[in-house]
């Protein structure tokens, strides 16, 4: 179990829908954020910081794995990978020649995939046929390579000293980010706008293999397996039940046109939020981003229809067999983000998991019962989840651990919380809020997220709401959510 995980989750606790604005004016350390909307719906937010000549550049799309269709899971994440493969003007010396070859590759691979699918759905795949098709594809890929300028956009970023060039996909969002020396900002606006205007998903099938390797990496990790099983078991209708990486068989069947369609639907400028934090003046930022992005036409956004999760009617339990030593995760459904109960829900986790005087640490770890035990509140757009990860110390068992965990939850439900603890938690909340100012990537992500999901970036500052939670609130919320019928337990057991 990774200790770090719960700390990071605790620090990064957000809710995505809020009805009230918090009063940020009291906190003199809050960043000064300026927002600008272009006529095509693109939103730009700028935070000026001129102490070092660096700009953190952040591009956020309000799309993630919850928007995926059955049979095409993993597409949002795969698209994220393919976004690095260039455009009609970048990473190529002759796109029109590439296009011909790519069409041939696509039809050959469609045949190979179809054959492969036979084997996966109860029939028998002709391995010889597949091998022959792949041979032909390999030759075409070699032919295409002569036109490709390998990973050129990344090379350009490298050569101008861009750092932290990376991207991520999750349930609710896809984001792309890096930092540049401030005199090179235009390189970013140029390249990123090309990626939005005219992406080319070249090297499609080799990247499909890379994504499958990424999937395998998580498959060999018991930690990841437990959490994936937890979500699979907790969520039967909400699309949190399938992992962002997607089912391998789905990923293995994704076609270039699937990706193109998904990109067209969800990467519209009116579904895009750009945040620049650093050594850039507001008017220059507006001008530069406008120069490159404002010409991209807005699109009608698809109906993001998501089936809500019905209340869980009883405890769910699952096991994952592995060679790993005993460990477990427990999940509780939490309040919807628009529900003010979310604040008490998060404060409960501060009490349970934060610091050496937290309940779990004091009563379970310090006593030698648990090797690790800590919780985190997951920030999802549709509902929150309290995840508790724990591993027992020999000779104790997961059963012993589970019992002890529920004992602590019971105490919280009874309102057995001291004044000292509440003061401590308020101090922790204050300390956490300084992270916004110190870490530009964290600030950018927060601003984009709250603007995208609540319509107002100011909502990222939840400090006062969290600090005004009372013991009564805690009791009420604990008794509503931390109950048996609302929980799911997943345990690693020997094969």
């Amino acid at each position: 179990m990774k200790r770090i995980k719960s700390v990071i989750v605790s620090i990064f606790i957000f809710i995505l829908f809020m009805s009230n604005m918090s009063n940020a004016a009291e906190n003199k350390f809050l960043p000064d954020v300026k927002i600008h909307k272009y006529s095509n719906g693109l939103t730009l937010m700028v935070v000026e910081k001129h102490d070092t000549p660096i700009v953190v550049c952040y591009r956020y799309h309000k799309v993630g794995s919850i928007h995926e269709e059955s049979g095409k899971t993993g597409i949002a994440h795969f698209l994220e990978h393919l976004s690095f493969k260039g455009t009609g003007r970048f990473n190529t010396v002759d796109y029109s020649k590439e296009l011909v070859i790519m069409k041939d590759i696509d039809s050959l691979m469609a045949e190979a995939d179809k054959e492969k699918l036979k084997g996966e759905t109860g029939g028998k795949a002709d391995k010889e046929k597949i091998a022959q098709l792949l041979e032909k594809v390999k030759k075409l890929q070699e032919e295409q390579r002569q036109y490709i300028c390998k990973d050129e956009t990344d090379a350009i970023y490298d050569s101008v000293g861009a750092g932290g060039n990376n991207a991520s996909t999750w349930f609710d969002r896809t984001d792309y980010y890096l930092k540049v020396p401030s005199n090179r900002l235009e390189v970013w606006t140029f390249i990123e706008s090309e990626k939005l205007k005219d992406p080319v998903f070249r090297e499609f099938f080799s990247e499909r293999d890379v994504v499958l390797e990424e999937r395998r990496m998580y498959d060999t990790d018991i930690d990841a397996a437990l959490y994936e099983t937890l979500y699979k078991t907790m969520f039967t209708t909400l699309p949190y039940g399938h992992d962002t990486l997607g089912w391998p068989s789905d990923v293995g069947q994704l076609k270039r046109k699937d990706i193109q369609e998904f990109y067209r639907k969800y990467y519209a400028p009116n579904n895009t939020f750009i945040v620049l934090v650093g050594d850039v003046k507001l008017d220059k930022a507006i001008e530069l981003v406008g120069k490159y992005f404002s010409g991209i036409p807005a699109q009608e956004l698809p109906d993001m229809r998501i089936t809500p999760e019905p209340p869980q009617e009883g405890e769910r339990r699952a096991e994952v067999e592995s060679e790993a030593k005993p460990q477990m995760v427990i999940g509780f459904h939490g309040p919807k983000p628009s529900d003010d109960d979310i604040y008490a829900f998060e404060v409960i986790n501060y009490l349970l998991s934060r610091g050496m005087t937290s309940r779990f640490h004091k009563k379970l770890v310090q006593t030698g019962l648990a090797y690790e035990c800590s919780g985190g509140v997951s920030d999802l757009s549709c509902e929150s989840v309290l995840e508790i990860g724990a591993s027992p110390k020999e000779p104790n068992t997961c059963d012993d651990l589970e019992e002890a965990i529920y004992k602590e939850l019971y105490r919280i439900k009874k309102g057995d919380v001291t004044k000292w603890e509440m003061e401590k938690v308020r101090n922790q909340i204050d300390m956490d809020s300084t992270g916004i100012i110190r870490y530009p990537f964290y600030l950018a992500e927060n601003l984009a997220k709250y603007q995208a999901w609540t319509g107002d970036w100011r909502n990222f500052d939840r400090t006062e709401k969290l600090k005004s939670v009372t013991v009564e609130d805690i009791k009420r919320v604990a008794n509503k959510y931390l109950i048996k019928s609302n929980r799911t337990v997943v345990t690693a057991v020997p094969r």
Binding site: D154, G161, V187, S206, E214, R216, M217, E323, E394
Partner: protein, 489 residues
């Protein structure tokens, strides 16, 4: 940072203009260049003024009367004080037959209570401040890190001092930490990446603590006195450096530091337990049979020390060979062939004693031997061929242009200055870094590769489902099986 012009200091060359003008046309590795890349070259960039922080200007260096070297940096943008203290000690002083003392000493300093506080009281005091903290002894230093709200200067300084000077090593807390080590050992075979890493380290570093496994009986018998003696010997003012950054007033801070640390006694430190290890090799193929859908591969041997004369050539080598999307390893193994999601390699350049040259990746069983061979071939290519001017310039441009990220925020700047002095780097290291990188040629890179790479001495570790591998492992070298011990007791 206050932007005050001081004409009198121009001669000290405080402002370094961004003047490295390597040919920008060499951005990708072939002679090919897209229309977009050409357009980027036509963009205009203003020159960039980068300040390289200096002691005396950006950070104040003070030596206290009892020998503590302090680095102070005021910063009022956030209401926090960050204290990073490092003491010259390390696990290199840990004897193999008592392995665990250094680690336990470091860990217990933070959790074992102190002179004025029982362990529980200390936890409460520290948690109430919502402090971020850590105490540890690692491969090179004994650290106490403490960060707290600036409104709590007195409390914060006191708690920091308690951890640094007056740890109690409470026996109950010691038992908990011993239990943690035990649990760590019991669980070390849970994850194949960890298995690969441990197996590799144990082969590469038989005479260095990184390659030692904790012996649970030994750990059980480590006493409080051993930890106290360790602390007493090493944790002395004359052996400690502290960087303090944040929202403080200089005069007030110095006065309070004197109150807390002024009567900390100097004493000579016994460094005689230091263990130097020799550069030895352990060639061969060592496999662990584990039923996994992905193999973990680690290949390498011992490399260089921090003070090696070819540092800059090796930095450029690392960037070209195995760091970043455009490295050769990434291009060939991930991007072209789709064999791996995670792949990389290079020399570790910041070890006081030998670091390693290591390359590795994770790939499906059916491409395991293929991936291993590819990595080895690419390594040999670095020795046999000069890298192209394009690759060279790309790597150098990256290193030069991204250097400013070393100085992004005040805490980082101060810690960087602290580290430079602690690691005995030349004081001009930062000032001269970019010029030193710009001087590296393709010949230098090849020469360094030839000098430090040993293709016949490779330790090759593979963890995976042997039955499903594409080729027999004997194609890579002499094969040995490693059986995992299950510490069930």
């Amino acid at each position: 940072m206050k932007k005050i012009l001081k004409p009198v200091l121009i001669v000290m060359a405080l402002i370094l203009f961004f003047m490295i003008s390597l040919p920008l046309q060499a951005q990708q590795k072939g002679a090919k260049e897209s229309e977009g890349a050409k357009a980027v070259k036509n963009l205009h960039f203003d020159p960039l003024n980068i300040r390289v922080p200096e002691v005396g200007k950006d950070v104040e260096r003070i030596v206290t009367k009892n020998g503590i070297i302090l680095f102070l940096k005021e910063d009022h943008t956030i209401p926090i004080i960050d204290i990073t203290s490092i003491t010259r000690t390390s696990a290199e002083y840990d004897r193999k037959d008592r392995f665990g003392i250094a680690r336990l000493t470091g860990d217990l300093m933070g959790v074992g209570g102190t002179k004025d506080f029982t362990p529980d009281e200390f936890d409460r005091e520290r948690d109430y401040l919502a402090a971020a903290w850590n105490t540890y002894i690692d491969s090179e230093k004994g650290g106490v890190f403490f960060e707290f709200p600036s409104s709590q200067l007195d409390r914060g300084l006191n708690l920091f001092t308690q951890m640094l000077r007056f740890p109690l090593f409470d026996h109950k807390r010691l038992e908990v930490e011993k239990g943690n080590i035990r649990e760590e050992v019991l669980r070390e075979n849970d994850d194949p990446a960890t298995v690969a890493s441990n197996t590799y380290k144990r082969l590469i570093y038989p005479d260095y603590f990184k390659g030692w496994k904790y012996d649970l009986k030994t750990v059980k018998n480590i006493t409080r006195d051993e930890l106290k003696d360790w602390h007493k010997n090493f944790f002395r003012p004359n052996n400690t450096m502290i960087a303090i950054t944040g929202d403080f007033n200089r005069e007030e801070l110095l006065k309070k530091l004197d109150e807390q640390l002024g009567n900390w006694e100097n004493a000579p430190v016994d460094f005689s337990g230091y263990q130097k290890f020799e550069k030895k090799f352990k060639p061969g193929v060592y496999y662990v049979d584990m039923n996994m859908d992905q193999s973990n591969i680690r290949i390498g041997h011992l490399g260089v020390t921090r003070d090696n004369p070819d540092r800059y050539a090796l930095e450029v080598f690392n960037r070209i060979f195995g760091e970043g999307f455009n490295s050769i390893l990434n291009e060939k193994i991930r991007s072209n062939e789709g064999l791996a999601y995670s792949v990389g390699g290079g020399f570790s350049l910041d070890m006081p004693q030998y670091g390693t040259f290591t390359m590795g990746c994770a790939t499906k069983p059916e491409s395991t031997v293929k991936a291993a061979k590819m990595m080895i071939d690419i390594m040999k290519q670095m020795m046999d061929e000069k890298v192209s001017e394009e690759r060279l310039n790309l790597a150098k441009n990256y290193l030069i242009n991204s250097f400013l990220y070393e100085f992004e925020d005040p805490v980082q700047v101060n810690r960087g200055i602290l580290a430079l002095e602690y690691n005995k780097m030349p004081s001009d290291y930062n000032k001269d870094y970019r010029e030193n990188i710009s001087k590296v040629t393709a010949e230098d890179v090849q020469r360094a590769a030839k000098k430090y790479l040993q293709p016949d001495q490779l330790t090759i570790v593979i963890v995976g489902n042997v039955k499903k591998f594409d080729k027999p492992l004997s194609e890579l070298g002499t094969v040995h099986q490693i059986k995992l011990e299950d510490e069930g007791k």
